[in-house]
Symmetry: D2
Subunit: 343 residues, 4 copies
């Protein structure tokens, strides 16, 4: 069977996470997120962020996190601004609109948006109330193109949002990978300071399922539990999420796993560079987008699975390769050998 | 006081419409669209379209018509494709999204969309069910830029929609103006044949309020009344709409008024052409977009009101001028004189 | 043809209202509720209420008013409490739920609800966040059964709502009739003091269409225009509503018409009492519910139309008779004669 | 620490389920429910139901299952009928209404609804389109009161629904317990024949999380995946659900666990009967509702946790006791001893 580089959720959970589930299995716990593990996971995240006032809510997946946060924060006449490449704009089957809110998509080349882009959008929506009111900015870090925001970029965005009365919400399905990229200068603490809310993705980084929504803005914390319940996100056995996040966060396993995934991707990237390959965009996380010709794609497809991401011309296309904490050295070596043999 | 060319709804109703309201005022009628006038208006529209199976539903305004038709026709996971200049995409404060549906906006220069544009959009939404399913195409005729669709263009669009299993819905807030433009080759009958649904706008063409939604596709007619009621569009005194549409349609007053509005606009257009003016786009309906410099704008603004539509550079901008059935020859002459005096 | 007592919207508008429309027809006005008539109508209502901080928004109909107010005021996890006989609970085709909010229906015998009923409902919804949070109380005055709230009842409800952090919203589709009933002790001023919002119904009291939403609670006024637009309620020719309410309110025509309608109903009620009839509930407004046997119903149905409201047993049923400002003395005399002849 | 009889989700998963997760952990699988375990789980359920045309969709929890099924099946103007004790009516924080649909609650004493109740509701909703259209009946089995439907009752309901053009949907959060109760005469096969859709609850019967939605009605299967995605229910690692349901269903572990939970409850019930206790309703599943006086409640609360379900008078209340597959014989014996010692 081919080895898949198609995504970072092809395997189960990191063994330590499974062990934690087994270990705690028969102790009785409160339901609905009131178990001791969930409470503890919140405390650990608050401590690591140095933000004891933040509130943490554990949910099953990214689309769920996005739709609950956005619909809970916005009033009916308010919209959210995203990159046109953003997950909520293009890959959630209209989940945000289904809660009643327009998503604006800003064209871009690197998965990121800047204050000037947002200002331009606001400028052409001045005919109130005929045009909708922008109230939130949604970004992903790392982005859907594997790129990351710098500290300066995040602070600029946050200050811009503050000045325009916009919330800043970060989709962190791959926040671990962003924070452990070699080019990164942001910390978890920064996300506690320079965002209204964000989430730490577990599904793509060692957990079976789970994203930890962190709400910094105290005005937005109130009655959030109702929204979890109403959208079907409040698990009876919330312990399943609590145990996993406690295990991932308590000794930085979360960051170790992400770093390891990034390093495997960087090895592959280096191998492609060695043979003179270009990339759709320069990335330092667990997603890389080398540009290959059709022959090369065919050759690599014999033993490996991956997505052809974007046709560039008749001959060439960017492919997407994703590594995870479960990608072994053995696989990487085998793949690099095949890269070296590409014509 | 300045005379306003800002829109085509600055005055009340055509006097014949008011007279019809006065004439019928004290007869008792059934409520909720079951009055004899509404029934009669439906019959007249069916006859003029030569489509006796069409159903007609009278509502108060365009945004209301759009949101009810779209939310009644689509299932939760289906989206609608519009020009990025389309009223539903940019000028209805998120009304469509508030009913749960995504609106895709297609960039354009003339307010119109073509099959190739729609196909391109469909092509990048093939990752089902992660990406939403397109199920309807929304166009305006005349468009928000005053342009109109030719018969060939409408048929091409309809056939494309049929082949892709998409509904075609036409916002006809200014359909009267489109159908009476000198460059037009479409008829009301064509709209009964080459669309799933459309509406005839009354508000901008002689009525106090009112748009007549026409549903040709028999599968979509069923239980439509529930949607009218649920969205607050079913007037207790539906007679108010019935009387107006009966009066406008029975002797083609509707088309006479639109034609008259177009002719007044064409006189202004000719005057601008005489002084060598360019236009944002070539139009033959009651909206024109001459490109003026700031001095010219200032001069004309002394006695007349209109919108500066789009800045083109430091010096020049396109302005929007709209005429209506109520625009008198006297006003047109006065305005043309001022155009002639522009430097 | 039979004369209809089925409802109070079978005729058009009071002649003075039509005259006001004719009189102002050709003056140019701003669109979307910014016309001088709407502005003036707001000022008059503020003055009559002695509440200059109230905001007034004119819309087409009652269901529209209800759904916009409720969805604008509530957050997604909040619900509204109504009488089970309330219009929003049973007669708006799920309009409120379609905006995402649960409506609780409280059983009752007279169309009214009291603090104790609401408290009981709150008491069985204490398992937060699994059970929804009640945030608004909706009442109608006059109610769907023609009854009215006393001053003490309204103040009690408002104080209860204040103490429980609930909004109080009054559906005033027939508020004119309530305020002019002989048993009434409330004033328009009281509605400016003891409610968060209410509306003055025009459709059932002299207007062609139109309800004037009055928002007293300043926190709820903000950005309300967006909601009007998004729900399709912002008429391009808002003047249509402004002119009518200015005419109805400026010299108390609104209250004169309602009083007249009530008086006609009271004449009929007296006639039924004379022949020993019982009533479903005692009312002093323009709706009466005499209890008749099948023979009597058949007799009266020969020349008059009305609804059989509620079967009481094999033999008897309550019928509903509604009068309006347009019900003439001649009709009333004719009907009373027929009542006298009942066996 | 007290032992809790408050619910059946206080522990983790059955050990066999955890072992299956561990066993399969590092094999790569397709995401989003296309893994081999989910495919296999569907096949097993089809076989046990003898309904190869049924489709199975695995989701995280019961509220999620309810809101997705109901919003996917209904059009905007359609409502769902439930017992007033039904989970969707009272315990999901308005989840169904948040998708736009009204839920009607039918008063009852045993958690069940019958055709006559539903017909009565339909009868008072005949004023179409002002009153909403009922299109679905929702029941729970076992119910929120621990009772179950007999085969005759289910068939009667289904035939009634068929004759009235209503869908029948069964919330099976505790379907295992219903099907293994000593008084039960229904089979899984019956649920494949006499419902449009239902689900098999895993969360309360051996799984960490998971409910298996089964759609029998082929017209309702189409494009269901979009709804899962749009509501945030499509897990990237769908394997988590597939592995659990394969393990639970392949050798009837699912039914063994439910039966065991029921038996533990029956032992407690017998002990209460021995001391002459009455019950709120007679149940044969894992929920029992003995009626105790305050002294007895206090005594039992020393070492055990449970909910006081319903106050009956000053002195007496019904308490709710729930057992699960994880309730040991040792605990049962200890509890029964305490019952015997009650005064």
């Amino acid at each position: 069977m081919k080895y898949s580089f198609k995504n970072d959720y092809a395997e189960g959970a990191h063994p330590s996470v499974l062990e934690a589930l087994v270990r705690s299995n028969l102790t009785q716990q409160n339901g609905y997120g009131l178990d001791e593990f969930s409470v503890n996971a919140e405390r650990i995240i608050q401590q690591k962020m140095k933000n004891p006032k933040a509130k943490v809510f554990l949910v099953s997946g990214g689309t769920q996190a996005n739709l609950i946060v956005i619909s809970a924060f916005l009033r009916p006449h308010e919209s959210v601004v995203s990159a046109a490449t953003g997950h909520i704009f293009t890959n959630e089957s209209g989940a945000i609109e289904a809660t009643g809110h327009k998503v604006h998509g800003i064209e871009n080349t690197d998965g990121k948006i800047r204050p000037a882009d947002i200002q331009k959008l606001i400028d052409v929506h001045q005919n109130k109330p005929h045009q909708i009111k922008q109230k939130m900015v949604y970004i992903s870090n790392s982005t859907e193109l594997g790129t990351i925001y710098s500290k300066k970029e995040l602070i600029d965005l946050y200050q811009f949002c503050q000045s325009r009365n916009l919330y800043l919400f970060v989709d962190g399905a791959r926040l671990g990978h962003a924070l452990t990229a070699e080019s990164n200068d942001l910390t978890l603490e920064d996300f506690g300071k320079y965002t209204d809310a964000f989430y730490l993705g577990g599904t793509k980084n060692g957990a079976l399922i789970g994203e930890a929504i962190v709400i910094n803005n105290e005005n937005l914390q109130e009655e959030f539990g109702f929204h979890l319940k109403q959208k079907g996100a409040m698990l009876a056995k919330g312990r399943l999420l609590g145990i996993q996040f406690e295990e991932l966060m308590k000794d930085d396993l979360y960051f170790d796993l992400a770093k390891q995934a990034n390093e495997q991707a960087m090895k592959i990237k280096e191998a492609f560079k060695q043979i003179g390959c270009d990339f759709l965009c320069e990335t330092f996380t667990n997603q890389i987008f080398p540009i290959l010709n059709q022959n090369q794609i065919n050759q690599l497809s014999t033993n490996f699975d991956f997505y052809v991401w974007k046709k560039l011309d008749e001959e060439k296309a960017a492919v997407r390769l994703i590594t995870s904490w479960a990608t072994t050295n053995e696989i990487i070596e085998k793949f690099i050998n095949e890269i070296k043999n590409l014509k």
